[in-house]
Symmetry: D2
Subunit: 336 residues, 4 copies
């Protein structure tokens, strides 16, 4: 089959490799859409723990073409998407209901071949049905949306609360889309690109604000005591340091953006105490895929507009170029 | 001032009574809109603990015209609405953060004169500012919406869950409106009136279903394992008994409808155990008024369509007639 | 190996059967202690969905003697206990983090041979290490305690709240033991047997009260507004109906006792609404085994006194007789 | 009456001042015991927002001797303690159920005269009955314990979890005492004073560990994946920075200690994300006094041993000296 093979640091090639044979608990999927994610880039740059050669790609959807002998929930022809994290279900964390901290997980597209290929094999444990009316392109966003569902659950948002999000990239927009329908009375987006803010506004932000001194003043005027929820989707510790001031007493700061390893931020413990602040991390997906699919299937979360470009497998290079050079790209998808 | 005075059981009169003089902690409000609620009818019928004569009316908005000497947060000209429950802040329940179970609360329109009059006096503790762009008619729905906010908080709804509501009256529709933007991937409404269901659909229900054997089959088909949240807004124990079967394991049944006192429903404790069911009551408002106002102010909850008729104080009788005889009435408002 | 084989309704025999051979993901355990539970009796009486012949027994501990080739966490010589519920990890419920509602679970001692035998084979997913200083007899209570841990988590108990438990059998006493160290300022036990109450008092109940009219008066005097948490461990719908009155507004009624299927209880929906009541079911174990073991290992929960008699496998009959005829039996254990 | 009057920075005098006259909503209390707290020292040093002259003292108990005309819950002879924070009940925060962030609170002993005197007047809203069998000295610890109850509520501790506390001063020991009976399977204390650790051990710590490199190794050995709850009771940002590493994934770091204003700590946002960390502040008391009293009254929390010395009002100076110079002092009380 055709696949995009990451062969070494910064080196990938479109080649013909052996089509995977599904293990007895696995489902073989004909990939129909696969998104490029920051993690794929980290892998390509050799900044991740993955080994070469690897077929990357962990946000995808497709059609089941073959199933292992022990598979009971799927059959050829089924339209599906997947949670790429296959947990061991027997380590310390899996047994205390903290699967996303599994000590021995297998991750499709990270520790084993993924979806930048014509076919991908996935343990049945990670596969999910999608309804007929949901396109494959939309369904390929179920995984990032499942991360966002996990984060919003952890945020503790309650009906009528005010939300502020920093970072209007694809993830910030997904956060906005979900928070808007998770009780928030308003969701304000902050970014440094006016173009991204214009897009955020079109996607439904209550208000958009450029991140500068002027912008901070506006935020103070809008919510003098702060916002019940402030979420970071920039991944920048420097930005996070400034975000904390906008949290209302007894409110939450959601660390959703992924900062560089080792990069520290300064927080004032007195302030955390005095204002009863919650700082909450949100790591990946913990059994929230089905809820993500529910939201896509019912049309409550609209992701079509988030797909900024699509390429064939042969044009993988162009997808990477968009990622690097188009500052306004959102989700870039490969249609193998 | 002009007021509608409930003089005795089933007897009210529009008369001229003394305009209230605000106590030192009170705000005097020129009433601009006041909704008729089932409780008002219970009072009128002598089925409630209120004493006659009484000016009823506890869902209202208006303009501040005078303030007591100790009032610090309001001044004449302010546009406001109110939480009619004025808590004692010193009983057992108030001191353990269960104010809505206050042992000595004063309720505007129930234990003291209310809003079916030109003026009403309210302790500053219960008064809330409303923004200029929110009409008085809409703001008069802040109190019932605050009940709904409290109920939705208690429901524990999480992003992507499926919701089923029985009863498409004004309250059922408010529940739907809020649950739709509180994480639900879909909100299905059930009623016995097709006309109400049509209205519910127009207001945004994902699906509407007539309550009969056929309807129950449809619900089973839509969600074979049930709904994470089933909410009652009918107040009928007979209906509630049937609603429980639609709760998904580990899901919640929200007892929002107010059943007749002493009317029992049968539940199967084995089933509650086996399916990990939560049955949760929701009583009135507990410090959720501000969140209700946030939702109205931002336009996230639209209540204009819920106001089915408005009358002047002189026409109070017609409001009551609508309540009794128009099966499709929603919120009826008095504009004194 | 020797085993107690349930051959048909009300018929069991101690016989020699084939020692189980561990599957590749299984651990073979030399059983050291196995408790008799109400479920075992239901199976024996043919009132359960199990098929005959069956080796029952699902509360146990023992020593690992052999492991399947894929087992990674255990080796011969390890001291262990087990969660008898082996989940499929691929059905609808497993994938939404509701494993205890798994649609295809295998239960040791219920759907496959269990621990009333010299050896039992268990999927590694269900096996847990126990520390050296914890006796096998104590460790065999980890499973029922894990149910109780799940129930207490669901109860929402907060520091300083008052607790009332109906039923001072083994489970009621475990609930008491855990609630006493889960924030409760006091835990009161109610039963109909004074002897059981005396034992409950010795085990640490704050107060014990006979269940009769006099007893109810005492409870009203102790907590005029009720208890934040009332838990049933009797399994009787008639008793449950009376328990609800003792719940404080905004408090919780925990349905922990298992009532007969189809036996209904009457509740007043008006009361649930008016007093903001939570009724919460608790079904078995959901990833709480490790916490149960933590509590046993640290000595925070003492179960030695709960073991009222121990018998060899040959004397299984005597264990059953104790269960039927000794009204004051607590946990009866088989030491195969 | 006799009182200890803080006249200016670092200057106090025992003098005769006018006995307070209770306002109509106030209760006049004959002080029986009043603890010295770090806040009193800050006030004395002029490091707090209080104005001189002031009678400090906000942790106290006593007997009601007189009540204002509107007081309904108390009468002379009643034994009481108090929550010194008297909330306005009408500001933004009070109306959204965040009273501890009240914008206009009055604090006994901080913004108005307190309990280092023979008499103190307190709004009925802040006064609580104590049972006869609870000594005044013990009851004077209800307020700090109520802070701890609030913190433990916020910590989200669940049955069977492991707890680690840094700082074995009076507050650390109260945290330990409550966490021990709030579900923890073990509570380990860390301090830099072996003497304090010995005391902590005697008070019931599961284990005590000196804070040094060796100690950190021990902690890693005890809980290789960390503790579900790590609580700071040192108030030192430098120490807090090291504490975070001991939090188990998806666990909580409770910022209970009060750090110096402006003193920053460094945290790694990547780590917060990757390990799903919760950092939670806990500010003072929010309607938890009654629960604190419940715990003292039932004997579940024992505070007698925490009172390291008691002095008469005349000997206030000696109390201060103990505070400054006895490194092992716990709670120092004035018995006016
Ligand atoms: N928690 C999880 O499970 C999870 C899952 C998926 C992704 N993530 C993380 O979520 C973050 C966002 O992902 P993404 O795909 O949306 O990335 P992205 O496209 O790079 O979006 C980040 C956005 O933040 C903006 N930004 C940069 N500096 C800013 C500032 N000072 N103020 C306001 N905005 C600023 C960027 O603007 P410019 O583009 O103009 O620089 C960009 O629009 C990443 O860190 C990603 O790793 C987390
Ligand atoms: N919890 C709280 O704090 C709170 C606050 C406010 C109100 N409430 C309660 O909420 C409930 C609803 O209030 P509302 O003003 O919306 O009352 P409503 O207008 O009477 O609405 C009840 C609706 O339920 C429908 N219904 C009756 N039987 C039904 C059945 N078998 N299946 C499905 N639907 C059925 C009714 O249909 P028909 O009209 O055709 O009969 C009606 O549309 C009331 O019980 C009210 O007291 C509670
Ligand atoms: N939720 C779960 O996951 C779970 C797990 C395990 C067990 N359970 C259930 O928990 C319940 C208790 O189990 P167990 O082993 O402790 O059973 P048990 O030994 O039969 O205990 C029940 C106790 O309730 C007492 N009782 C009966 N009627 C009463 C009344 N009117 N008032 C007060 N007490 C009364 C009984 O007294 P007498 O003995 O004198 O009649 C007995 O002491 C059972 O229903 C069991 O199935 C639930
Ligand atoms: N959140 C709230 O609402 C609230 C309420 C009351 C109090 N507090 C705060 O709680 C904190 C504790 O109060 P406290 O009265 O118990 O104070 P404390 O007596 O000063 O106790 C602090 C303890 O931490 C120890 N410590 C210092 N450095 C340490 C280190 N590196 N490692 C481990 N332990 C270390 C101290 O040891 P040495 O004495 O040997 O230095 C002392 O035993 C204070 O910051 C106080 O302001 C908070
Ligand atoms: Zn694992
Ligand atoms: Zn009250
Ligand atoms: Zn399953
Ligand atoms: Zn206030």
């Amino acid at each position: 089959m055709k696949a995009c093979l990451f062969e070494a640091k910064e080196k990938f090639v479109i080649s013909d490799i052996k089509k995977p044979v599904p293990q007895k608990d696995e489902v073989l999927i004909r990939v129909k859409a696969a998104g490029i994610c920051g993690t794929d880039i980290h892998i390509l740059k050799g900044e991740y723990f993955s080994d070469f050669p690897l077929v990357a790609g962990h946000e995808f959807s497709g059609e089941v073409v073959e199933v292992g002998e022990e598979v009971t929930q799927f059959q050829p022809g089924d339209r599906v998407t997947a949670d790429p994290n296959i947990f061991c279900d027997k380590c310390y964390f899996c047994k205390i209901n903290k699967n996303n901290h599994c000590l021995d997980s297998h991750v499709i597209g990270v520790t084993q071949n993924g979806a930048f290929a014509e076919y991908v094999a996935v343990s049945e444990k990670g596969v999910f049905h999608i309804p007929d009316h949901l396109s494959y392109s939309e369904a390929a966003l179920a995984e990032p949306l499942a991360c966002v569902v996990y984060g919003v659950r952890r945020s503790g948002i309650k009906p009528g609360e005010k939300v502020l999000i920093f970072g209007a990239g694809a993830i910030g927009l997904l956060l906005m889309s979900l928070l808007k329908i998770s009780g928030a009375s308003q969701v304000i987006m902050v970014d440094i690109s006016q173009k991204k803010l214009d897009f955020a506004k079109k996607m439904g932000a209550s208000e958009v604000i450029l991140n500068n001194a002027e912008g901070e003043k506006k935020l103070k005027a809008i919510a003098p005591f702060g916002f019940e929820l402030v979420a970071d989707a920039t991944g920048s510790p420097r930005v996070m340091e400034r975000e904390l001031q906008f949290v209302e007493p007894d409110g939450t700061f959601l660390v959703f953006g992924v900062a560089p390893i080792g990069d520290m931020m300064k927080v004032e413990p007195y302030d955390i105490f005095r204002r009863d602040i919650h700082i909450v991390g949100s790591y990946a997906v913990k059994k929230t895929m089905q809820y993500s699919i529910n939201l896509l299937a019912s049309g409550k979360i609209q992701v079509k507009n988030l797909i900024s470009s699509t390429y064939s497998l042969e044009d993988f290079e162009r997808g990477i170029q968009d990622f690097y050079h188009d500052p306004d790209h959102m989700k870039i998808q490969i249609i193998p």
